[in-house]
Amino acid sequence: MHAIKKIACVLCVLWAGLSSVALAQVVPPTGSTPTLGPSDQKAGSVLVFPLVVANAAKTADTRITISNISSKKSATINLYFIPDNCMELNIPGMFLTPNQSITFAASDLYPVDRGYLIVVAFDPTTNCPIQNNVLMGSAYVKLPSGYLGAGGRVNDGYNAAAFWAYQNPVCPIAGTTALLNFDGVTYDKVPSSFVAQIQQPALSPGQTIITAGLNGSVETGVIIGAATTTTSIVRDAGKFGPRSRSISSLLLGNCFGRNTIDLHPNIFQINDALSGSGYGTLEFITMGGVGLLITPSGGKWAGIQPLHTVGLKDVTLEIPRV
């Protein structure tokens, strides 16, 4: 009996140690000059729509709007659609005059199921990405019941994450690709530490975390940043005392991560961790990307929210010059 107690204690200490290792990395920024990350409320030179879905029957679809919000400058944009197999589909050279917007349904343009969309302001003369912080974007998503593997339908909107360009990216005259340096010097840095406010899956089925990776090469299809890199922490709201669990492999994938929490192998532990209050937070780390939390109808509450960011990272994304 004594030996069992000892083992239990050792396991507890190990557990706590693992948790603190992970937690040490998910910390809010401090100081007087916070590094700016992307935002879904500002204009930028690069837009990322973390979730674009469509099917042939159009029961799942996304309505995307891209606007040139400047009243003075025109904008040339390239659109890179990255499906979840990471092999991008490119629509080159759209031109937006001042104050012009375009809107389209994903089902009309992309004959694929799901992925994400990157919009980059380009110089039409040099074919290089440029600093042109005039783009803003929004999307509405509709998904039928059961699309996420659990939960009801989804109908909500989100704004695209906008990355501000501080200068023109370095772009050699020759070459077929260009680098987007998300380093806080050329473009805003990329989120890498996230917190999602979730409900207990038993009470709100189908909650799904989506991440779109922005680290690697669109040209070669080797893009990372969507998968979690370390143990994630699910934490009860704490109404009845602190209670948390660490879970591994929260988000798998390379360019596109998607996890319907109900389908995670550790769903029992997640439900158990949140059983005290019925809600709490999920903290996780990736190699750089943006994301959404989708809560389908079926529980008491439904909608789409951007993931909260508590840490940023320098990453580079290579894109083809079309």
Partner: protein, 330 residues
């Protein structure tokens, strides 16, 4: 007659150029709903005691740090701009769920400001550890007589505090929060959103909340439209409008054929191409949401308003109390 026509054309060109030249270019606004901050603003909540199952708002505030934090919650009713407040104690990594039907029942339109405060004095502190999210649901015909049901989510606006507030700005009775970019992030001034023709999507609503003035006196402003607003259709034709967003602490504008009132009326103006356009609205000083009720097209939800430019220096006076006994002694 020919001269008269020429004069009219010249006047039109002048008016258009004045409208265009008055428009600001977008700037890199730090204010965001995706990061942690020392002040959170939930721009809209609504509740019904009779039917909370279909009409309510669920707001969640989390402390993402490893230290305890006291939060002063200020709830503002849009009708009289009255405030009511309460403190909550968030231990490390703790979250707190607030149902509007519970904390402020039967309020049609309200907004919530959450301020990280000092445990002893109650003065605002520069602890950028708060994040927030909300779910909103409303039955059909509640947001507006022609609107469908509302169901969606948003995340709270988070204002980053760059330094502690000046000692002179907190006298133990009130505190002055300076949204000037030196102490706290600046608030929005020129907002924008894309809209669809109201004949296609009825009941689209813009809600703005003011963050300038004195909460302790109920004298809060900044939500109203402060100058001419503009709407562009899909072929970049411009129409201007006024008096669309009217209010003090909160303004709510429902988009209909006649509101905002533009030449040709809005449905006809947006009818070219794909029945959509972009709206730009200057307000006093605040933040806002764009709410699209459920509709036959399936494109509905809640999104934050884009911010093109910030207000240079709005100030908000908030009441201060010592939060005695709010947090259990560690």
């Amino acid at each position: 007659m020919k001269n008269l026509l020429k004069l009219i054309i010249m006047l039109c060109a002048m008016m258009a150029s004045v409208a265009v030249s008055a428009q600001p270019e977008p700037v890199n606004i730090p204010l965001s709903d995706q990061r942690a901050g020392a002040i959170l603003v939930f721009p809209y909540y609504s509740s019904s005691m009779i039917n909370p199952a279909t009409h309510d708002t669920r707001m969640t505030i989390s402390n993402v740090s490893d230290t305890q934090q006291i939060v002063h919650l200020l709830m503002i009713d849009s009708q009289l701009c009255e405030e009511q407040d309460i403190f909550i104690c968030l231990n490390k990594r703790q979250s707190c769920e607030l149902l509007a039907s519970d904390i402020d029942p039967d309020v049609k339109d309200g907004y919530l400001i959450a301020v990280a405060v000092d445990a002893t004095t109650g003065c605002p502190v520069n602890k950028n550890v708060l994040i927030g999210g909300a779910f909103l649901k409303m039955p059909a015909n509640t947001l507006h007589s022609s609107a469908g049901a509302v169901s969606g989510a948003y995340t709270a606006e988070a204002f980053y505090a760059k330094q502690p507030i000046a000692a002179a700005d907190c006298d133990g009775i009130t505190a002055v929060i300076r949204f000037d970019g030196t102490y706290y992030d600046q608030v929005g001034k020129y907002l924008a959103t894309d809209i669809q023709a109201p004949s296609v999507i009825p009941g689209q609503t813009i809600v703005t909340v003011g963050l300038d003035g004195d909460i302790s006196l109920g004298d809060i402003h900044g939500a109203s439209q402060s100058a001419t607003g503009l709407v562009y259709n899909s072929i970049e034709r411009l129409a201007s409008f006024s008096r669309f967003l009217i209010g003090n602490c909160m303004a709510k504008g429902v988009i209909t054929d006649t509101s905002p009132k533009v030449v040709y009326r809005l449905n006809k103006f947006l009818s070219g191409g794909q029945n959509f356009g972009t709206m730009k609205i200057p307000i006093g000083a605040g933040v806002g949401l764009f709410i699209v009720p459920e509709n036959t097209k399936g494109w509905s939800g809640i999104r934050p308003m884009h911010k093109l430019t910030p207000h240079p220096g709005a100030t908000l006076v908030v009441p201060v109390f010592a939060p005695t006994g709010v947090c259990p002694v560690p």
